[in-house]
Symmetry: C2
């Protein structure tokens, strides 16, 4: 507990110090701290006691240098507070720790062209056993020579790595689910407020929406572009409020909320005049006015599944890839969606919507 202050202000104790104190060789200390076999219980105890006594902490830099492995995973993420990326990062954090790895994070800035390549480069210098690319924006093809496995959320970029794993891309299916819900309620078609086109997620969601419309032979209204912000949803709403729009699928909840705000300001009722579906199931979406029908991405599932695959690729370099499985997806039907007014008598009071699926 107490460090000898007087004589040895000589940096942190090393395994050699522990060995000396325990009366064993340095290698034996190493064995104990790596849980290797062939150490007698007695020696193990002595070493542990000595280590505790002098406050020994293994030095990971030395470990990494000698072994070539760091037991750490690096993640490249967009440095933004947006709900999707942030939630995924939280899931990755947890999954990395659960797997017994340390986490190094490098964040990129939207609009920085060399961002992703530089971020990967920096992780490689730091030394990581695997990389998670949670970079939602298409910054063009990367050509990187990476010597560790890479887990990619979003579209796989062109990079040269021993193993590339793609995980949990469900935006398209969720968008179909959302659009189908509105169509099922009887709306003739569904408008779409999309995210920025450079985002993979925005493209996937628009694509899912488009496919749902086509499958029913519904007309495909022009996409309204947003930037994920409530502000942009609000602007889109002002544009849409004049038309005879009855149903809108917004590519995230924030835009849906801005949209609803604009609709209400324009004297429309939601869902009386216009039904709205969001995307994300942000924590407040059930409590806004009206409570928002939305779809939920299984971030934790995506992160833990993805990480399982990545760790497998790290630890069994020659084995085949595991089956990623299919993450569960769901739609949360709340009060922002209803059949179009023409099909009901009174549209504006809080009507209970039969969940249909």
């Amino acid at each position: 507990m107490t460090r000898s202050s007087r004589s040895g202000n000589t940096s942190a104790p090393s395994s050699k110090d522990v060995a000396l104190a325990a009366g064993v060789s340095q290698k034996t200390v190493s064995r104990v701290f790596n849980n290797e076999q062939y150490v007698s219980a007695d020696v193990r105890r002595r070493v542990q006691a000595a280590a505790e006594e002098i406050g020994y902490r293994p030095n990971n830099a030395a470990r990494a240098l000698a072994s070539g492995r760091t037991r750490s995973i690096g993640v490249v993420t967009l440095g933004t507070g947006l709900y999707g990326p942030a939630s995924l990062l939280v899931g990755i954090e947890r999954a990395v720790q659960n797997a017994g790895y340390a986490l190094r994070v490098v964040s990129t800035l939207e609009g920085d062209p060399s961002g992703v390549a530089g971020a990967v480069e920096s992780l490689l210098e730091q030394g990581v056993d695997g990389i998670v690319l949670s970079e939602p924006i298409d910054e063009g093809p990367l050509s990187l020579q990476v010597d560790v496995p890479v887990l990619v959320f979003g579209a796989p970029p062109s990079l040269d790595a021993p193993r590339i794993i793609t995980a949990g891309v469900v935006s398209e299916e969720l968008a179909r689910l959302a659009t189908d819900h509105l169509l099922d309620l009887g709306h003739e078609t569904v408008h779409h407020i999309a995210g920025p086109r450079r985002w993979y997620a925005a493209r996937d969601r628009a694509e899912g929406w488009r496919k749902a419309l086509r499958a029913r032979g519904a007309v495909e209204p022009p996409v309204v572009d947003g930037d994920w912000s409530a502000r942009s949803g609000h602007a889109a709403g002002k544009a849409l409020a004049g038309d005879d729009v009855t149903a809108v699928f917004a590519a995230n909840d924030d835009m849906a909320i801005g949209l609803i705000r604009a609709l209400l300001d324009a004297g429309k009722r939601v869902p009386g005049d216009v039904s709205v579906v969001g995307f994300d199931d942000t924590p407040i979406s059930a409590y806004v006015t009206p409570p928002l029908t939305t779809v939920r991405q299984p971030f934790d599932e995506m992160a833990s599944t993805g990480l399982r695959l990545l760790v497998h690729a790290i630890e069994q370099p020659r084995a085949g890839d595991l089956d990623p499985g299919q993450p569960p997806i769901e739609i949360l039907v709340r009060s922002s969606t209803a059949p179009p007014r023409s099909r009901t008598t009174s549209g504006h009071e809080r009507t209970a919507i039969p969940a249909r699926e």
Copy 2:
């Protein structure tokens, strides 16, 4: 086994390989990559070309081992998607990178008693030059022997470190600002929906609210406990809707939104019958119904200022502490607050409750 034979399939190239290729000593390569002076421009160019040519990347583990420094900073954060902690983490990420350091993250789980100590321990093993404790929950006193400077957001825990820096705690002032705003509008008193008491931020906000009330001699209604979620704000709203409440300060925007939902459901109008102020300025707060009056924490400022101090402590161990300065704070007045409906301004003054401190 010798490395770097012509076959080239032997692990990564080292600075020795670069030296060989450039016809200089290994030390000179090191000089170039550390931007040391006293390297002729010509040699510098040759080394850089050779490095590029053979795809050399410095090995940070070796660097760290030899120098005792890692140029990395570790952060302990609560593994949650909550707006506050997540926003602060984003700010820290950016600030750490701007300072030229790498970032290691360890997240803790709410309710895990040994979490923070274990997290710090793990960072110390990984090797970091400084630590950021962005742990919003009071898990009781820590007694840790840490040998690097520590930057703390929230209350300083009891730990033994060469330098402890506390940064940007402005919750209390912001809470006063929020409460004063309602009082200034003419409300007799202000109710408060608080966060969980184990959170420093919750306590600070409740304290700011309390001080504002006392300063005016307003009665201090019992605190309503929430858990930051819109759901809990909703529950609090149901409880409050029966009483003759005219003004509420919620400790975050999510609870404010849940509260408003409950108030509206109970037939109250906001701000007609009840004024509500939130806390955080979440991105959607301007677009909910009604647009929410709220206060904003300057996360980016807090992070960059804190980090400046931390880096200073790392790089100038013997210099005094820098002046943290005061982060700017502001209230965003939107449409959820108004004067009380019956400005009857009864002549009877309420007696100030005796201050207990």
